[in-house]
Symmetry: C2
Subunit: 287 residues, 2 copies
């Protein structure tokens, strides 16, 4: 059966896997740290591609990506601006490369192997950032700026005179940082640690999660109104919190939707591999 390598270039690590056309995945090597220089990053991806040893390679990156032209317009934590990344990666690897946006790739994988094939769904990534992709008939909406729902500004609940983006309240990274800021320390903890503290009754964790849930509910209410999904699939680091996130978010969202039909809120079944799987799927469908 045809197989492809899928490589997910994140803000902190680069990870890869092999995928066959049925959606079966084969683990790749241990993830490597993401270099902060573009040339070094291209070399690291090429080395990983060689190690995975598949003739087809799909790569997905964070930030703003024009998938049609194969250009990485900008990456919040990644070192490029208007970079012809598809061409650079193809040159370094010595073979054609499919380049995708990480969240759109996750949505692609979710559409094929997540059990939502026939349904119009919103794939919401809660990781370093917050963004969403509408998937209709298995196809994620296209366009580089589409679904950047973490970018609008709202009053900061900790200081209502200043504005803050949804992403800086409700991403996994924001929850981690806001908890560390207020509890005085815990710099290396992830959102899972904050949800762990919440379960133990920590009031700072409860306040931070509550602010994240409120911001997300507000943002999702408008996104649901604009795009009418039947299902919302939560993915990315914070989705690992499961019902500790889904239950309050679902209640809050419900209270803001007025007469609109309620979408079902679920956590992605594919877990942290979804984006690399979607990148491999891009490569598989390229020939």
């Amino acid at each position: 059966m045809r197989r492809a390598a899928g490589i997910d270039v994140g803000g902190t690590t680069i990870k890869g896997l092999r995928l066959d056309a049925s959606g079966r995945r084969f683990p790749g090597p241990v993830p490597v740290p993401t270099p902060t220089d573009e040339a070094a990053l291209v070399d690291a991806v090429a080395a990983l591609a060689r190690e995975l040893g598949e003739p087809r390679v799909g790569v997905c990156v964070a930030g703003i990506v024009d998938e049609t032209r194969g250009v990485a317009l900008s990456g919040s934590n990644l070192p490029w601006r208007d970079s012809p990344l598809r061409e650079r990666l193809s040159d370094a690897i010595g073979a054609p490369v499919a380049l995708g946006h990480d969240v759109r790739c996750g949505a692609r994988a979710e559409a094929r192997w997540g059990g939502h094939g026939g349904v119009r769904f919103l794939y919401v990534n809660l990781g370093t950032g917050v963004s969403a992709v509408t998937v209709t008939d298995g196809e994620p909406a296209s366009g580089p700026w589409h679904g950047e729902i973490g970018q609008p500004l709202v009053p900061d609940p900790a200081d209502p005179t200043s504005l803050v983006s949804i992403e800086r309240l409700a991403s996994a990274e924001a929850v981690t940082r806001r908890y560390a800021d207020r509890s005085g320390g815990l710099p290396s903890a992830g959102a899972d640690v904050v949800f762990g503290r919440l379960a133990q009754g920590d009031p700072v964790a409860a306040a931070v999660v509550n602010e994240a849930v409120s911001a997300l509910a507000q943002c999702l209410a408008f996104t649901v109104a604009a795009t009418a999904p039947e299902v919302i699939v939560l993915a990315g680091g914070m989705a690992q919190a499961g019902s500790a996130l889904v239950e309050p978010l679902s209640g809050r969202l419900e209270s803001l939707l007025g007469i609109l039909p309620r979408p079902r809120l679920v956590v992605s079944r594919l877990g942290p591999d979804a984006e690399a799987m979607g990148a491999a799927a891009l490569a598989l469908s390229a020939d």
Copy 2:
């Protein structure tokens, strides 16, 4: 040249026009009041269709409409629920009828004759309600609940302990009613009168318009983030306010978009005929 009748069934009046395939419009008779009973309403539309005397008839209605099945699911001010309206109108008129959603029809007309053909735009109707349609490659997004951006609830600026829908703050009807409530009277005035008072320095008019603009800006910031339009076209009664609406709204929206690209904000050039024109266009493209 082929022509069609376009009939726009609004919450208060039913109006019709004739349209040829080039987009040239020919005025119809004086609008008639919208009956509150469905059978009487169907009769009134059929009488208007006979008067317009074209072999092709397109009808658009407000509320939630399933255009594919020709069913009016609900109409906030209109007397149906899950009504097979396309079939009822065809029976009454004695010819096939194209049935559309009023705002999607307005968006269709705007795509063809508004000068935004090649551009991805958001068509925002500010009339009895608030709703929006994303138009890509000339095609409005489909689905009955798509674009109901006026439905999410936000804290009421006049009483922050209670929630109110965007529509009840920012529709032409809401602006009119909220002004009347606070100024003690003026029940029959429209949003244009409120904007007239605003121009004369009326502080109640200024407060009501300011609350409407804030609510709209918030709602549009999230809709822009989700759907990435290049242009926002304002239509419906309140769009007639022109720069008195566009300037503050554009400034407020700008302040909430963070790093997102700014869409251009314009007023529809087609005016109040847009929806009937789009209904006629549906009929023209049906054969």
